[in-house]
Amino acid sequence: MKKIMIVDDEPGVLYTVKTGLEALDDSYEVITVESGKECLDHLEEANPDLIILDLMMPGMSGWTTYDKIRDQEKWQKTPIIFLTARTDDIAKRAGNFLAEDYLEKPVDVMVIKERIEKLMNKNKEK
């Protein structure tokens, strides 16, 4: 069972990723949350293997959410994929992240799946 948590304020994105991933592979369980705050609140309870995080959200932004997740020791190694509607946001902080860490919206779920598997395998090797 692969537990994926997706954080996005767009219901369309949450629906697409959840439906798509679960349709592609029975072993996926996708937990959807609609804000950074909700993500932090449910993190312990959901216990995801990987987090997909939208960068542009009202309230707590993706960057803040990312920092708050990483602040907790338990979640320091959990792979995180950023979703963004604007590539130039990424370019600003490109120095800190690899290209494989983010995907541009609208995303193809098959591409998400490939990326998830790549990152999780890499994590296993460590």
Partner: protein
């Protein structure tokens, strides 16, 4: 080349020429006048002397008594008489009867002696070296015209005085010429040249965009009218510029609103696309019915096309705003092209098109890495799009110029007509309207052009015509400030 002659210089030349000719002709006239009156003194003297001699001649006309008389007259006379000839008319012959110095008589005086039998006249003014004046005076009353005297006076002192006077006159006229020239020039400078310089300076400042410039000149002449006309024009222009600036502000605000609108619209258009882009590939993969699968593929293609259209439109809108910032780096050109070619390999192989990078390794240019890669990607995609997939070739080369690098991308494709070349960089323009795929939104070259222009470069296209291939050239600065 046209030589620059300042107005002051021209006016000076004119004033000098006019005043000099006026003053000097007046002076010369004056000197001439003086010398005539000076000469008349000798004519009078000659008359007096002649009258005195007549008394002697009437008493005793002898060769001995006459010279004695002459001598006594000469002694009485302050002016030194050099010689006196006495002419006597007998029948038609003129005879020199007596002379104090016969050697002076050259025998050629016949004519003017005849003329002067009843009239005193200067017959000869010798050169300035000898300074002599020779006067003929009638020897008898008008009833008897048989005698005439010729007196030759030595005039050295008198001439010297006359010369001194002339010199003085020249000096005085020279000085007054000087004063005249300077006062006329001073007047001209203040009434004409200075206002004209004011006009020139005002026009220069005005031309630089300072529309508040006015000419503070009030004179009741044409220059005053000119200043008024200038000031009125300046006021009108200032007003119309203000109006234009207002319009410009409105336009800028509208453009900002438009960009914000496109940005928002693009963002809002992306969201509903998410389920289509996200799920259609999965549906295609999982659909068993081949007919349904085909339908889904068409849907997917259109969704992808829509996505491309939205992305490119957003990018173009973004490139149009001044706010966008580029990060300039010194980039090795050949390596950059290699990197783009690698990402484009699958597409090139699919279309059976070969590509060669002919750029020398040592060429560098200042550009934003990601944007430059996009330029190459767009130009290669464009070349592939218009090159039939039967072994076409694309080559990329570059030349270094003084301040910039010129890159050329040549293909062996369908080429372009002159009309097509003109429109090729227009938004949504497609050289071949039948080409219609997900890569063919028609914005790639517009985006490329904007990127190049943001780098202070130029882009243009060339083609020898239909089926003769196309070449796209662009230039980028070789050196540049690293901004940010």
């Amino acid at each position: 080349m046209k030589t620059y002659l300042s107005l002051s210089l021209k006016l000076t030349l004119i004033v000098v020429a006019v005043s000099a000719s006026v003053i000097f002709s007046l002076t010369l006239y004056n000197i001439n006048d003086q010398s005539i009156s000076f000469e008349n003194i000798y004519v009078d003297k000659a008359k007096d002397t002649a009258a005195a001699l007549e008394i002697f001649r009437n008493e005793t006309i002898t060769n001995t008594s006459f010279p004695a008389a002459i001598n006594s007259i000469q002694e009485q006379n302050n002016d030194s008489i050099e010689y006196i000839h006495f002419f006597e008319k007998k029948q038609d012959n003129i005879i020199l009867a007596h002379s104090t110095n016969s050697s002076e008589y050259d025998g050629n005086h016949d004519e003017y002696v005849l003329l002067s039998m009843n009239e005193s006249k200067i017959v000869k003014i010798t050169s300035s070296n000898t300074k002599k004046i020779t006067v003929i005076a009638p020897g008898f009353s008008s009833t008897n015209q048989s005698f005439a005297y010729e007196f030759s006076y030595l005039t050295t002192d008198a001439y010297q005085i006359l010369q001194q006077r002339s010199t003085n006159l020249f000096l005085i006229s020279g000085a007054s010429l000087f004063i005249l020239i300077f006062s006329v020039l001073f007047l001209l400078r203040h009434t004409i040249v200075k206002p004209i310089i004011q006009f020139r300076d005002a026009a220069k400042i005005f031309g630089k965009g300072n529309l508040q410039t006015r000419i503070p000149l009030s004179s009741n002449d044409e220059l005053g009218e000119l200043a008024d006309a200038f000031n009125t024009m300046a006021e009108d222009l200032e007003k119309s510029r203000e109006t234009l600036e207002e319009y410009n502000k409105i336009l800028e605000r509208l453009i900002d609103q438009k960009d914000a609108f496109i940005g928002q619209l693009g963002h809002d258009l992306k969201n509903p696309l998410q389920p289509l882009i996200g799920l259609l590939p999965i549906l295609i993969q999982q659909e068993k019915d081949p007919k349904m699968k085909e339908h889904l593929k068409v849907m997917n293609e259109n969704a992808q096309y829509m996505k491309e259209l939205i992305f490119k439109t957003l990018e173009l809108a973004k490139l149009r705003t001044e706010k966008i910032s580029f990060e300039f780096d010194k980039l090795p050109l050949s390596e950059t092209v290699d990197r783009v070619i690698t990402t484009q390999k699958p597409m090139l192989e699919k279309n059976n098109i070969s590509i060669s990078n002919l750029i020398p390794k040592n060429i560098f240019m200042y550009a934003d890495t990601l944007r430059l890669q996009e330029v190459f990607k767009n130009l290669i995609t464009n070349a592939v799009k218009y090159t039939p997939d039967n072994g076409g070739k694309i080559s990329i080369s570059a030349k270094e110029k003084k301040d910039y690098v010129q890159v050329s991308i040549t293909d062996t494709g369908i080429g372009m007509s002159k009309e097509q070349i003109k429109k090729i960089f227009d938004e949504f323009y497609r050289a071949d309207s039948s080409t219609h795929g997900q890569d063919s939104v028609g914005l790639g070259l517009s985006i490329t052009k904007r990127i190049i222009e943001k780098h202070n470069g130029k882009i243009w296209a060339e083609s020898n015509g239909k089926d003769k291939g196309s070449t796209f050239h662009f230039t980028l600065p070789k050196k540049g400030e690293k901004n940010q």
